[in-house]
Symmetry: C2
Subunit: 344 residues, 2 copies
C-alpha cells in the first residue's frame, strides 16, 4: 500500500543500481583477493597481469558466481570469492590471447595488454593467468572444482580455436556459430553459475538449473555483444564498431543478413568477410535495419533470455534465483537501449 | 659367473639401447593414447597439435614417469600412460609458445609449429594442450594429481616469464639463472618422477626421493642443453648453434665466461647479449675452452648428477631406482660426447 495515495503499488523490480549495491562487498572482496594473488606472479609479469585485471571491466562472470551462490546480503563467502577469481582469470587469459591474435589496439577504450606490454608479455600473461586459475581450483578440498574448471577451460580454448582459425571463412553455418558461442562464451557463464550455486551448498537440482540459466544467458550475451558491434555506441562498447566484420568474423547479424541480400550485394559482403578489406559497416547496419535483421537478432536474444529464465521458475523462493533473473533483465534493458539507438 | 671363461664378471650396466627396449612398449602406449586424444581437439587445431606431438622428440619426461613407476617389464599401467601424456603436453605447450616468442624457425631440424601453421594457431595450440593436460589431470580419482600438475604448470609458466622477459638483461646472476632453470625445466622433471612413483603406489619416502632426483636431473639436463648450444653438433641439436646468445639468454656458460674475460672483451660480450647483434659464437666457444669455462660447466653438471643419484642410493633394491640412475648415466655419456667434441 502506498501510504500517501492509498493505492496498491507493485513493488518495483530491483534496479541495476540496487543489484550493484548488493554485489559491491562481494566484488570488493574479489578485488582484494585478486590483488593479493599478484604476489604469486613473477615480478616481470605483475604489471601486465595487474593491468589486465584493472581493465577487465564488468566482472559479469564473478557476479554470476556471487548471485548463484547468494545466501543473503553482507555475507561474503571465501570459497565464492576464490571461484569468482578463477572464472575471471580464465576469462582474462582468453581475452589477452584473443587481443594478440586479433591485433586489437583497444579494449574498453584502453590499449590492450599486447599493445602496451608487447605480444611476448601478453602470451605469457595469458599462460600465467590460466595456470594460476587452475592452481586456485586445485586448492579446493573437493576435486570437483578442478574437474569442472578444467573441462570448461578446454571447451573455451576449443571455442577460441574455432573462432580464430575460421576468420574469413564464409562457409560458417548458423549451427557453427551457435557452437562457437556456446564454447567460447556460454561455457564460462554456466561454469560461473555452477560453481557459485554448488559452493554455496545448494541442492543439485538448483545447481543444474543455475548452470542451464548461465548457458542460455551466455549465448544471449554473446549475440547481444555481436549485435552491439554494429549498433552500439563506440564510447560504450570501448572499441571501434564493426571490428568483427573487419576481422572476418561471421557473427549472427551477418549470418542473418546474407541470405536477405540481393546476389551482387551478397557477393560484396562475402568478399568483405573473406578479406577484411574496406568493410562497409554503416551500409551493413542500414541493411540490417531495413531488411528486418536487427529485429530477428533481437528476437533470437529474447528467446535465449526466456529459455534462461525458464530454468529458474521452480526456484523463485530462493533469493539467488530472483537475483539471477534480475541480471537477465538488465541484459534485456541493455538490448532495449540498442533498439532505441537503431530506430533513431 | 661367466660359464665359458669361468671368471666372475660384473653384470654390465644397462646400455642406452636396452633401456630404450624396456621403455618401448610404454612409449608406444603413450603414442597410442596421445593419438586417441587428438579427437578431443577442435578439427581446426588437430594438425598443429599432431605436428607438435610428432616432432616432440626424446620423450624424456614421459620416460621419467615410466621409469619412476617401474613395476617390471611388459606391464604398461594406464595411469602412468595418462600421467606421461600430461607432462608431455605441458612441455609441448611451453615449447610451442616459446618458439613464437623466440621467433624460432627450427626445432629438431623441422620448422616450428609457429612457422608452419602461423603464430595464431601456435598460441591456440599451446593453450589447448595446456587445457587438455589439466583436463586429463582432473580425471584421476584423487585430486592430488590435479594439485601437483597445477602447481608445477604455474611454476613452469613463471620460469618462461623470467626467461623470456629478461632476454638481453645482463644483470642476471647465477642465483637468477639457477632459479629460472629450476622453474622452467627441473619442475617438470620432478613432477614426472613424482607422478610416476606415486601412481605406481610406491611409498611416500621413495616418491620424495624420486622427485628430488628428478629436480637435480632437470637442472643437470638444462645446463647440458645450454652448453650444447655452444658445443653440440648442429645436426644433433636440431637448430643453429648459439641461439641462446643470439636471443639474449644469459646461460651458465656465458655467466661463467664473463668474469674471466678482460674488460674490453667482456664489454663486447655484454653488448652481444643486450642487442643480440652479431653474436661471435665461435669466438665465445674458443674462449670457453681456453679459459676453462667448459670444464667448470661440466663440473657443475656432474655435481648435479651426483646430487641426483644420492637420492636414489637408499632405494637400490627397487628396479625403478636402478633405471632412473641409468637414465642419469646416459646424460653423463652425452656429456662425454660433448667433451670429446670440445677437445677436438
Amino acid at each position: 500500500m502506498n501510504a500517501r495515495s492509498g493505492r496498491t503499488v507493485r513493488r518495483p523490480a530491483l534496479g541495476a543500481g540496487e543489484l550493484f549495491v548488493r554485489l559491491r562487498p562481494h566484488l570488493r572482496a574479489l578485488d582484494r583477493f585478486v590483488r593479493a594473488q599478484l604476489d604469486c606472479f613473477e615480478p616481470e609479469i605483475r604489471a601486465p597481469v595487474a593491468y589486465c585485471v584493472d581493465v577487465s571491466g564488468k566482472r559479469l562472470r564473478p557476479s554470476l558466481v556471487f548471485l548463484s551462490g547468494w545466501r543473503g546480503a553482507g555475507r561474503v563467502a571465501p570459497p565464492l570469492v576464490r571461484a569468482a577469481a578463477i572464472v575471471e582469470m580464465v576469462h582474462l587469459a582468453t581475452l589477452v590471447h584473443d587481443d594478440i591474435m586479433d591485433g586489437a589496439e583497444l579494449r574498453r577504450s584502453l590499449p590492450t595488454a599486447a599493445r602496451r606490454y608487447g605480444s611476448d608479455a601478453a602470451v605469457l600473461t595469458g599462460d600465467a593467468l590460466l595456470a594460476h586459475a587452475v592452481h586456485l581450483s586445485a586448492q579446493f578440498p573437493s576435486s570437483e572444482v578442478c574437474r569442472v574448471v578444467a573441462a570448461a577451460t578446454r571447451r573455451v580454448c576449443a571455442g577460441e580455436v574455432a573462432q580464430t582459425l575460421r576468420r574469413g571463412d564464409t562457409s560458417i553455418t548458423l549451427a557453427d556459430y551457435r557452437r562457437i558461442v556456446d564454447l567460447k562464451t556460454a561455457e564460462l557463464f554456466q561454469l560461473s553459475c555452477r560453481l557459485g550455486s554448488s559452493l554455496a551448498g545448494f541442492e543439485a537440482a538448483f545447481v543444474t538449473a543455475a548452470a542451464a540459466f548461465g548457458r542460455h544467458l551466455g549465448i544471449a550475451y554473446q549475440i547481444y555483444d555481436d549485435l552491439a558491434d554494429f549498433f552500439g555506441e563506440e564510447k560504450q562498447v570501448g572499441k571501434t564498431l564493426g571490428t568483427d566484420l573487419a576481422g572476418g568474423k561471421l557473427t549472427l547479424p551477418l549470418l542473418m543478413l546474407l541470405p536477405k541480400l540481393p546476389g551482387a550485394e551478397r557477393a560484396r559482403l562475402l568478399a568483405e568477410i573473406r578479406t577484411g578489406r574496406k568493410p562497409a559497416v554503416g551500409r551493413r547496419r542500414a541493411q540490417m535495419t531495413e531488411l528486418g535483421v536487427f529485429g530477428d537478432v533481437v528476437g533470437y536474444i529474447q528467446d535465449e533470455l526466456v529459455a534462461a529464465n525458464a530454468n529458474l521458475r521452480p526456484w523463485r523462493r530462493l533469493a539467488a534465483a530472483g537475483l539471477l533473473a534480475r541480471l537477465g533483465e538488465l541484459l534485456r534493458d541493455q538490448l532495449d537501449g540498442l533498439q532505441h539507438g537503431a530506430s533513431d
